[in-house]
């Protein structure tokens, strides 16, 4: 770790080419034509774009309990290959991450693997059951330093429990991340409630089930004075609720997944459950609204909701299949395709939605930092020109449930650097 690394010929935020000298994990010098000190290792940047390392507020690493689909080692590898330097691991594991013991285990396993900072997310309620608040204070004060709590996969549906959690959290400098889905409106839901699902005979997940929870929670958090983060926004109407709440000064942030930026429910006609996800893929109008809201800042960040599932949970009839799709290694490409290429985001904007804002929301002081002398050398080096074809079997995750199978996408992560250490380079994890 305490060695020097010279990264040559990179363009920070797509600007002019410079060299970056890293010493002890920190940027020591930044400028053109730097000489490599003796004994320093080098990384040829090839004129590619240098961004701060990506931060993903929403992944499922499946450990403990779901290791047939993913574990912290394979999930960390996928993260590093995708340009991520920090990820937030959701608590719907077995056992649920609702105690200090489980969150500390996740944090420690992440450190042992060492490819990406793994920040466990604690459960809001015991067992994700929505009934009794989990020990938020103990988890926040544990070695795992939990800063985000969520029942993701389930909504904290009871308004009283949600209100108490927000009030309690306000004293802890933590954020409550809500999976916005009114379960009373989505009983048995299998797909976006719309023309496609009704033709296919799939029970509908109405957009109002998301919209109403977000509206309710914005009202609750305003009173409680806490911070609310809304997971995986999927509907155009929810964007309007958020816009109004933000204009009124509510402390709310929101994320959108790459798949809700790109994919629509038109893919469902094959009934291939690789397209099954919660919240469901919606209409083309919704994806357009997601892109516009992300560009405008109404939606703060892109988070993957990386959700690996082993084949036996996916290659089934639609109704029996578990919802979720891989996201870590395709997120950057989808952002380039949906946001950068159409001119909705420049590289500063990409840094904002994939790194800076997520680090702020997740309260990570050493991630999402500017590329400047004295700052952590935590980067994603990306080639926006190159294209690649997605093959689920070739991804680092243990499962291969990618909806982008066979798709040709722009944007390749050339290297990932975490505090001066190269964690991934040319598609290979550096161990």
């Amino acid at each position: 770790m305490n060695t020097e690394l010279l990264i040559t010929d990179v363009r920070p935020y797509g600007g002019d080419a410079v060299d970056v000298l890293v010493r002890d994990g920190v940027v020591a010098e930044l400028g053109a034509g730097l000489d490599a000190p003796e004994g320093a290792s080098t990384l040829d940047g090839g004129g590619h774009v240098l961004l701060p390392g990506f931060v993903d507020l929403h992944v499922h690493l499946r450990e403990p309990g779901g290791e047939e689909s993913e574990d912290i080692a394979t999930g960390s590898a996928a993260a590093a290959l995708g340009g991520f330097t920090a990820v937030f691991a959701m608590p719907n594991t077995d056992p649920v991450a609702d105690t200090a013991v489980v969150v500390e285990h996740v944090r420690r396993r992440g450190e042992e693997v060492g490819l990406v900072d793994v920040h466990p997310v604690g459960a809001v309620t015991v067992g994700l059951e929505g009934a009794k608040m989990a020990e938020l204070g103990t988890m926040a004060g544990s070695r795992a330093q939990v800063r985000m709590f969520s029942d993701d996969g389930r909504c904290v549906n009871d308004p009283l429990i949600m209100r108490r959690a927000l009030e309690y959290a306000s004293a802890l400098d933590v954020v409550i991340a809500q999976h916005a889905e009114d379960h009373r409106l989505t009983g048995g839901a299998q797909a976006h409630e719309g023309v496609v699902a009704s033709r296919l005979g799939l029970a509908g997940w109405p957009a109002t089930a998301e919209e109403t929870i977000v509206a309710r929670d914005c009202a609750l958090v305003r009173e409680a004075g806490a911070a609310l983060h809304v997971c995986h926004i999927s509907s155009a109407r929810t964007v309007e609720v958020l816009r109004a709440a933000k204009a009124a000064g509510v402390r709310v942030s929101a994320e959108v997944t790459p798949h809700h930026l790109l994919l629509t429910d038109g893919r469902l006609t094959s009934y291939d459950p690789v397209n099954k996800v919660n919240p469901p893929l919606r209409t083309a109008a919704d994806t357009r609204a997601m892109r516009a809201a992300l560009a405008e800042g109404v939606i703060d960040v892109v988070a993957t909701d990386h959700a690996p599932h082993a084949a036996q949970y996916k290659d089934t009839e639609w109704q029996a299949a578990r919802p979720g799709m891989l996201g870590l290694q395709t997120a950057f490409s989808v952002v380039v395709h949906t946001m950068v290429e159409p001119g909705l985001l420049d590289w500063r904007g990409v840094a904002r939605v994939l790194s800076e804002r997520p680090a702020e929301i997740g309260r990570l002081p050493d991630q999402g930092r500017p590329i400047a002398v004295g700052e952590p050398a935590t980067f994603a080096l990306v080639d926006p020109e190159a294209q690649w074809t997605v093959r689920g079997a070739a991804l680092a995750s243990r499962a291969s449930n990618t909806p982008y199978e066979g798709m040709r996408l722009p944007g390749v992560v050339v290297a990932t650097v975490l505090r001066g250490t190269i964690t991934a380079r040319d598609g290979k994890v550096q161990t």
């Binding site: 699902a197 005979g201 799939l202 509908g204 036996q312 089934t316 009839e317 109704q319």
Partner: protein, 319 residues
């Protein structure tokens, strides 16, 4: 035709061809001493029903037997299915055993599509070569999606009774939202040129039905005098607990086919019901058993239509 999964697999010519074949088969069997054709000798048809349906299963079984296919029934209870075997494994096992056709009824929408995808994958080996297994999948009802042979037998019945389907006005009444029969019928009858009208409480209409090839009407009484046929859908008791409508009494008053309502139909109009009927709820006995009712003709046409489907899937050379 490799599989029959949805009526959208059928264009007007193919659907009409199936109905014609059904007519010819009926004719070929009429007045025979031996009601058995050698056509599917040596072919194996498996019926795999994850939901109970004596009517549909027996109809397929008779259709197979009358064409000399070997028919095997698998029911979800009493097989490896009840031991937790996945639909995929069960389906691949039947293909590997040499089933030429699997007729499947399953509570999950799209199950037949999935089985067809698995069967097609099993038909191709690792090197892209044929493995010699060609299993055709017939959807005998998948969740709330489709029941294509029911729509075909309804079309056969309407063609018999009305002389044609094109230009005829058919109302489908009741729980369209949860009905696979309604989905198959709306799209097949529209393909065949009928004018389809859907009548249901707003809570039992699917989202986006405005984009289906049918018209939605709020009033059954207003439609009846101009109908050539009316198809009453079964209303399941559990819908009452889902707040879809207040009570069975109110439903029957608004949407049930009473004698007074049936009297509003033109003389030539046909009353259909896919069965099993909830007498007194969506239809009263006097109408169900009356002269306009084609309920039993539907059942007997069911066998001939299913023979026609098996004939087109299994009799010719594999595609």
């Amino acid at each position: 035709m490799k599989h029959l999964l949805s009526v959208t697999d059928l264009d007007a010519a193919t659907a009409t061809g199936l109905l014609d074949t059904a007519d010819r088969l009926k004719q070929a069997l009429l007045g025979r001493e031996v009601r058995k054709l050698p056509t599917l000798r040596g072919r194996t048809v498996v019926t795999m029903f994850y939901e109970n349906s004596t009517r549909t299963r027996v109809s397929f079984e008779i259709a197979g037997k009358w064409m000399s296919a070997d028919t095997v029934n698998v029911s979800a209870s009493g097989s490896s299915v009840s031991k937790g075997e996945s639909l995929r494994d069960t389906s691949l096992t039947l293909s590997a055993m040499g089933a030429d056709c699997v007729v499947v009824r399953h509570p999950a929408s799209g199950s037949a599509h999935r089985m067809a995808a698995w069967a097609d994958r099993a038909a191709v080996g690792g090197g892209g070569e044929s493995t010699g297994t060609h299993t055709s999948i017939v959807n005998a009802g998948d969740g709330t999606h489709e029941h294509p042979t029911q729509a075909l037998l309804d079309a056969a019945t309407l063609r018999d009774r009305l002389g044609a389907i094109a230009g005829r006005r058919v109302a489908i009444v009741g729980d369209v939202l949860h009905s696979r029969v309604a989905r198959s019928n709306v799209f097949l009858l529209a393909t065949l040129g009928a004018e389809v009208v859907v009548v249901a409480p707003p809570t039992l209409l699917p989202v986006g039905i405005a984009q289906w090839p049918c018209r939605v009407s709020p009033s059954l009484d207003a439609e009846l005098p101009a109908l050539d046929a009316v198809m009453m859908l079964r209303v399941q008791a559990e819908r009452m607990h889902g707040s879809f409508f207040p009570s069975s009494r109110e439903y029957a008053v608004s949407y049930g086919l009473s004698q007074a309502r049936a009297a509003l139909l033109p003389d030539h109009a046909v009353v259909l019901h896919p069965g099993p009927m909830v007498r007194g709820m969506e239809i009263v006995p006097a109408v169900a058993d009356g002269p306009a009712s084609a309920v039993l003709a539907q059942v007997s046409n069911g066998v001939h239509v299913r023979m026609a489907v098996l004939y087109h899937l299994l009799a010719g050379a594999p595609e």
